[in-house]
Amino acid sequence: MWNYTDKVKEHFFNPKNSGVLETANAVGEVGSITCGDALRLMLKVDPDTQIIKDAKFQTFGCGSAIASSSALTEMIIGKTVDEALVLTNRDIAEYLGGLPPEKMHCSVMGAEALRAAIANYKGEEWVDDHEEGELICKCFGVDAAMIERAVTVNGLTSLEEVTHYTKAGGSCQTCHEKIEEVLEAVMAKTGALKPAAKHTPGTVGLDAIKPLPAKPEPAAAPKLTNVQRMQAIMGAIEEMRPQIQRDGGDVELVDIDGKDIYVRLTGACSGCSQSAGTMMGVQMKLVEALGEFVRVKPASLMPAHAG
């Protein structure tokens, strides 16, 4: 079933500004062949003030494509051409109260139609430069094309590197097999990967898997005093805050109870579908900083006597 916000539903069931704008002096037509969506955006721009007086759309696409188109027209009417150009696909998605990760490309199509229409108005040639592929990481909305690009450009060779560069696979970790498939395919293409030995008929391929080299034992972490440990935790959380604040959220340390570290996510983080991923990120950071295993839990899970 569709996980759409009320705002998406409102713009889908009763789209604003749909139809043909006879007086348009700027038209953008874009489509995404992979998803089969297509959008024609028609604008009426006042040549003196550069203000978008009216906008209409026609869309071939799913519910979120129609809602994104409708939202886009509402967002740009009354803006000047230059003000409108600042809009990104994220702005469209935010206006709609968020889109499921599979549907983010619908907002991308809206942003592209806007650029195409404005280019048409200015008499410029508009060239589409974005590619899309199968969605691999649902948590962070990373598709195969983005992973391929990151692997090719940066010469990545491992799953961990892909996660560091693209965030893909960093949260629920269920897409690791798919990431490794993309990685293998790119490496095979660039010659970075030696072809696997042919299996002899009748075996199931296990012979081709070599045992992993033994990992060196990590040096035992020096035992921290309680005060040092608390400072290390506070320092690590402080280091993470700017990154989380960039996404409109924040994190604060609430309590330390042995191996259980209680934190509170605030701002855009609270209620965000990716907050579990953020918690996991904080935990990884703390485990790294302390050299011991700890669990990061939301403050709401604190035992009653401790609160």
């Binding site: 043909v20 489509g31 062949i33 992979t34 089969g36 297509a38 024609r40 071939f60 590619e131």
Partner: protein, 409 residues
Amino acid sequence: MTIPNTTIPNQGVYLDNNATTRVDPDVLAEMLPLFTEHFGNPSSMHAFGAAVGGKIEWARKQVQALLGAAHDSEIIFTSGGTESDNTAILSIIEAYPKKREIVTSVVEHPAVLALCDYLEKKRDYKIHRIPVDNKGNLDIDAYRAALSDQVAIVSIMWANNETGTIFPIEELAQMAKAVGAVFHTDAVQAVGKIPMKLADSAVDMLSLSGHKLHAPKGIGALYVKRGLRFRPMLRGGHQERSRRAGTENAPAIVGLGAAAHLALTHMGEENTRVKAQRDRLEQAILAAVPACFVTGNPDHRLPNTCNIAFEFIEGEAILLLLNEQGIAASSGSACTSGSLEPSHVMRAMGVPYTAAHGATRFSLSRDTTDAEIDHVIAVVPGIIAKLRSLSPYWEQGAAKPKEFAPVYS
């Protein structure tokens, strides 16, 4: 054109029975005692176990009767269609390790296709994916050419889940036997709708799923002809004569038995009343809506399935508006599956993508009523017209397609 304000029949109109069906109340009634008084483990020596064991053997006989199998021991209960498909293919390639080829079709369910992709990529199997024509009929010449003594197993579905198109399974099975290949069919959509007599058939293995025939989800069966080499996928117990280890899902097995019994009783009704409802729905929509067509082969298909491609609009949008009218259907569109690809079945038939995305499947069952069909017939034309008024591919006043060539990424 507006959408008429007809009343929505009681619980809504469920026309997505190829996805799953409602558990029949009689099936549920058979199952309930297995949760309460007959809770024993059939492997146990005591009376608690023996009572359950007897019910399971009763259920096995019902499935045997539905399939027309020669022996009840040819039925292995599994967790569903996907497990049955996987077990069949993995079992045979393990039993015939020297044969390195598999024959299947391009329109199979992912339970077969994804496994074949995996075997091709990771275990070096050669996979022959037989194409279909624009009506979804299998290319028999390509099939014949793919068959050889190198083929371990052929896996071809009996009826397609999206279009309902039926393949000539007996003919295909005999051709496979002639080269010494094992023939498996995914009959998840066909069982209960097409009469079967596997005792007289060349079919070696057959997968079925309970929840497609009014039994609960999580139960299915694999038919394995007596004498066929078989290697279990799950090891760890003597259950199902050591062919599928794990304590039996007794309530669901009994549910499947009851559902199989009912399916046999109602098979005539599926092919008369339900078929007539399907035909009435289809003809009414085709007459009222311009630029739409039936996909698949209308002359050889399941009695309950109708798949109509509405051109120049997109399936998810259709489903959302149908849902507002209380109607449940499904779509071959990319956007409903979470993937970006439109249905592999539509693409295999060469349906243009502006139509493939608007392909909408209505699948009926013996629960479907005439009033429900009336409601769907009443609202579909308005829904299609509303979406076409938003479509850049549609000339509103002229009610015909227009030129539109966007920049594609």
